[in-house]
Symmetry: C2
Subunit: 223 residues, 2 copies
């Protein structure tokens, strides 16, 4: 299994590179890489960086703490360009686990659950039932529908795929996507949701930094 | 406008009464009541408590810091019984803002936005676009659909209604509901979503306590 850690985003909402925000004393990306390092089912990690964080990210990955990090690639402007760069770099592996670098709270357990789930179906993505009621609204923000919450899942990463399925999905044309699984769904492939973790948030806003810091500090304190 | 603060939940997932968890030095419920106290458009607050927190909640509400708190009522086993107890207690008011006591991060601004929005339509509820992709799954957790996220809203409280509309919705029969707006939708009334706040979380799990504590501490530090 090869992990593809996508860390090429532009952090527009945060105003500085979120991948290197300090969280409980360590850069965000270090937390992310540590989880893959500690997961026995992951053989190699491909890291996809942006031009602006290539130097910092490479230093971190080559610091000695992350021997699993193999290829380091430059991503593109769109998320899918970055994922494709990662896919190219791990051509020899049958399975890939694609992860948003900005989700530092994943655990080795979560990754393992994803890999086990994907082996049965070819594609497995982590999800949690939304804590709040979710409604569908119209153009004027009027409520149109309240879907059954027990059948909704807020989707996270790592998303684990048979590599050939994801390659096929991407070669089907590259519209702007934020979600790899949607590409498989679009060509009729079956995707299952495995249990994610409420902690596994994506750090995007200053609020998220406060929340991630608090959760990671507690995790350190509990060790 | 009368606010109805529902604080009669059983806190099963937290193992102790979440309404009185300390957050940044103050009990959770104190944060909640403070926001209504500070919102100029709210005239009175009806507080609905459970048997187990009636004494503690009454002491807090009558401490002198919350002159707007008028009726204090005992809630029921189901959420709707508690809302109905609150509705009965504020019969003289044309508008009600129903709020989960366990959402301590609301602000006077948020309440005001809700009241202004409700005046146009009769029913307005706060919502934010989910940060994660949301998918609909089937019985085997297989993905069935990825709805357009820009048209989804994670719904919060305070939910503001013309009192007579909410009374009508409740008198239409009381199935188990976690969401007052759904009752209005069920009898064909129009409900609009106004902009909520990502901070406005409902404290349910130990994780939520950590997150609320961090966000409220930051709020205090920024004063």
């Amino acid at each position: 299994v090869a992990a593809i850690v996508v860390a090429a985003g532009r952090s527009e909402r945060l105003g500085r590179d979120k991948l290197f925000v300090e969280l409980a004393g360590r850069p965000l990306l270090e937390w992310t890489l540590s989880a893959f390092e500690a997961c026995e089912l992951v053989d190699i990690v491909a890291l996809v960086l942006s031009e602006s964080n290539l130097s910092l990210g490479t230093s971190l990955a080559r610091s000695g703490a992350f021997p699993k990090v193999g290829p380091i690639r430059l991503g593109g402007a769109r998320r899918q360009d970055s994922v494709c760069a990662g896919l190219d770099a791990v051509g020899g592996y049958a399975w890939v686990a694609v992860h948003d670098g900005a989700r530092p709270l994943l655990t080795p357990d979560l990754i393992e659950r994803g890999i086990v789930a994907a082996r049965e179906t070819g594609a497995a993505i982590p999800g949690v039932q939304p804590k709040d009621t979710v409604k569908r609204v119209g153009a004027g923000c009027e409520v149109i529908e309240t879907p059954d919450r027990s059948r909704l899942r807020a989707i996270q990463t790592p998303q684990v795929f048979r590599r050939d399925l994801l390659v096929a999905a991407y070669s089907n044309g590259c519209r702007e996507v934020t979600d790899d699984a949607a590409l498989l769904e679009a060509i009729g492939l079956r995707v299952v949701v495995y249990p994610g973790s409420y902690e596994n948030l994506k750090v995007t806003t200053p609020d998220d930094v406060v929340v991630a810091e608090a959760l990671l500090s507690r995790r350190l304190a509990a060790r």
